[in-house]
């Protein structure tokens, strides 16, 4: 049986600049795939592509395809994509503070999803909304449903956004940095909610984050993205024990602690270059402590690791040692 979500050799361009280059990923029901990398690595773009929102930001799929439950997303027209979005694919955004319509009541914002995708009447939709809010442990759901977003805390808003993502009975939830904008204690609650949903409902979760701590806590597999390419893709435990790609190693070496700026890597200076200035060869070589001549000229291809992962590094064997 084919996986629920399968991204095959996907390249994405915005305005002639290729931002995702030959990405392949797959994710099955009941599984959590972490997508990690610094800002500019292409994580969020992957999320927007999977949810079919790419045209909204002026991007297009340059090559490759995305199969969702066996259907090529590109073969669906705008209407078909709309049915999928909010229906079988739920989306959780990074910043719950700005994710909700500030002038619409909370309840109506959740209701509309089940009305649209499940064809529920207004009353049934509201009942479902309140039920979902209860499942997400939102206290006084009926009162919250009548509130406006500015009256709620950040953690509460993120629960609302998750409720919206769940309202259409999704098979897949794409969560783009769902905890970054929240307090540490609230972060743990939200991650708990999301992993609980996967375990209880057999959802698939694509969890995008730059926080390796979250990955270690929640994910089954993890894909490390650097400058629009997959650097390493493995099960979580072996990756944390023995990272094969120097970039993955660096990310693990600096599991962010409170107060640390996003994207700052211990031991590695600099940041991901803009897409117009990606270097030749291995795109990580200017920042790599191990770089040798071949890294500057030859693009490293993804190779299988003994434990069934993939890594794109000329020196993987030597580093993993």
């Amino acid at each position: 049986m084919s996986p629920l979500l399968s991204i095959e050799r996907l390249s994405v361009a915005i305005g002639g600049v290729t931002l995702l280059d030959d990405i392949s990923l797959s994710l099955d029901r009941g599984q959590i795939l972490g997508l990690v990398g610094e800002s500019g690595s292409g994580k969020s773009l992957t999320a927007l592509t999977v949810t079919g929102l790419l045209p909204l930001i002026g991007g297009r799929i340059a090559s490759g395809r995305i199969l969702f439950d066996g259907t090529d997303l590109a073969s669906l027209g705008p209407a078909g994509l709309r049915k999928l979005r909010g229906g079988r694919i739920g989306f959780v955004m990074q910043n719950p503070m700005t994710a909700l319509d500030p002038v619409q009541r909370i309840g109506e914002q959740i209701d509309v999803v089940s009305r649209l995708h499940l064809g529920l009447s207004g009353e049934a939709a509201r009942a479902r909304t309140l039920d979902l809010m209860g499942q997400l442990r939102i206290p006084e759901a009926a009162a919250v449903a009548e509130a406006y977003p500015h009256q709620l805390s950040g953690g509460m808003k993120q629960r609302i956004v998750i409720a919206m993502a769940l309202a259409g009975e999704p098979d897949l939830i794409v969560a783009d940095e769902p905890t970054t904008a929240l307090d540490v204690t609230v972060q743990a609650q939200i991650i708990q909610i999301l992993t609980g949903l996967v375990r209880e409902r057999g959802l698939a979760l694509l969890l995008i984050t730059h926080d390796m701590g979250v990955v270690a806590q929640a994910c089954d597999r993890v894909a490390v993205l650097y400058a629009g390419r997959v650097a390493e893709e493995r099960a979580v435990d072996p990756l944390f024990e023995r990272p094969a790609h120097p970039y993955a190693a660096a990310l693990i070496g600096c599991i962010p602690r409170e107060g640390m700026a996003e994207g700052s890597l211990k031991g590695i200076a600099g940041s991901v270059p803009p897409a117009t200035q990606f270097p030749p060869g291995c795109r990580f070589h200017p920042r790599c402590p191990h770089a040798v001549d071949i890294c500057r000229t030859e693009r490293p291809l993804l190779r299988e690791t003994p434990d069934g992962g993939l890594v794109a590094c000329h020196l993987a064997e030597r580093i993993a040692g």
Binding site: R82, M93, V103, L116, V161, M164
Partner: protein, 308 residues
């Protein structure tokens, strides 16, 4: 909301007093004495003094102000010096004309401006957008009296569709409303477009798309709904402006109204009339800002939240 409305209305009281002082004082700096206009050249000084006393012009300024304000609050706006009639009568005759003209111009600007703004925003950076915004910019840079005269030249004189001037028939309203309305249209269209484009780029709009809502529904029910908040606020502020713009246009079209009343009174140094018509316009401006604030609070729960 009600408490806010009451507080906001009470806040108008000091503003009103300040405006009334300013209007009262300004007029006493105007050179030229209305009494001179009434007296024959070489009239004896006693007659002059008698006239000054009759209109209260011989008292100290603060006393004059207090008397003026007291009468004002009881609806007595004084007697026009030149027309020798109660000012309240003159204002009462002029006001409906100005309100009708201003109201129609406001409605025109809103409907046409919002429509053009929406069409431009939905076609952002395409030909239709550029054509609309270019046309709107052109429309807003024409001096209103000039535009009015050209409209008269083409549609009243050339084509004979509308009367040249006056206010006797409904059709006489068309050209003046167009003249005032075009300037407002430009403003409304620009604000509508800018805020729609702004809002469309917000996170929550992306999430609306992610919920699978149709783009049309998102644009109209959510984006436009938001974009209308600044439009309504600014339109309410514009009420005073439209009456101000009516000053020029009323003169061009020889229509009765506050504008013609004011201009004529200014040239005749008829203090009470000038004061009263300025006060009316100032009150329109104040009521406009009040209305804008209240509408904004009604449309935006965040504003209401910040108030309570």
């Amino acid at each position: 909301m009600l408490a806010y409305a009451i507080r906001r209305i009470l806040m108008l009281v000091p503003v009103f007093l300040a405006v009334s002082v300013v209007i009262f004082l300004i007029l006493h700096f105007i050179p030229g004495d209305p009494i001179d206009n009434l007296l024959k050249v070489g009239a004896p000084p006693e007659q002059r003094a008698e006239m000054m006393a009759r209109y209260g012009l011989d008292r100290p300024l603060p006393v004059q102000y207090a008397i003026w304000l007291g009468k004002l609050l009881t609806g007595d706006l004084g007697t026009a010096i030149v027309a020798r009639r109660p000012v309240a009568d003159l204002i009462g005759q002029a006001l409906p004309h100005s309100l009708l003209l201003g109201g129609l111009a406001l409605a025109f600007s809103t409907v046409v401006g919002v429509t053009l703004g929406v069409v431009a925003a939905l076609n952002k950076d395409r030909f239709l957008d550029r054509a609309i915004m270019g046309g709107v910019l052109f429309g807003s840079t024409l001096p209103s009296f000039w535009l009015g005269l050209l409209l008269i030249l083409v549609f009243a004189v050339g084509l004979g569709w509308f009367p040249v001037s006056g206010a006797r028939t409904w059709s006489s309203l068309v050209l003046p409303v167009l003249t005032i309305g075009l300037g407002g249209t430009a403003l409304v269209a620009r604000i509508t477009r800018v805020s729609m484009v702004d809002i469309a780029a917000k996170d929550f709009v992306l999430l609306l798309h992610a919920k699978g809502l149709s783009p049309m529904r998102i644009q109209i029910r959510h984006v436009l709904r938001h974009a209308l908040i600044p439009v309504v606020t600014i339109l309410a502020l514009r009420i005073g402006w439209i009456l101000g713009g009516a000053v020029t246009v009323e003169v061009v079209f020889a229509r009765p109204g506050l504008g013609t009343l004011l201009i004529k009174a200014l040239s005749q140094h008829d203090y009470p009339v000038v004061q009263a018509s300025l006060l009316m316009l100032a009150m329109a401006v104040m009521l406009g800002t009040l209305l804008g604030d209240l509408l904004q609070a009604a449309m935006d729960p965040r504003v209401r939240g910040a108030l309570s």
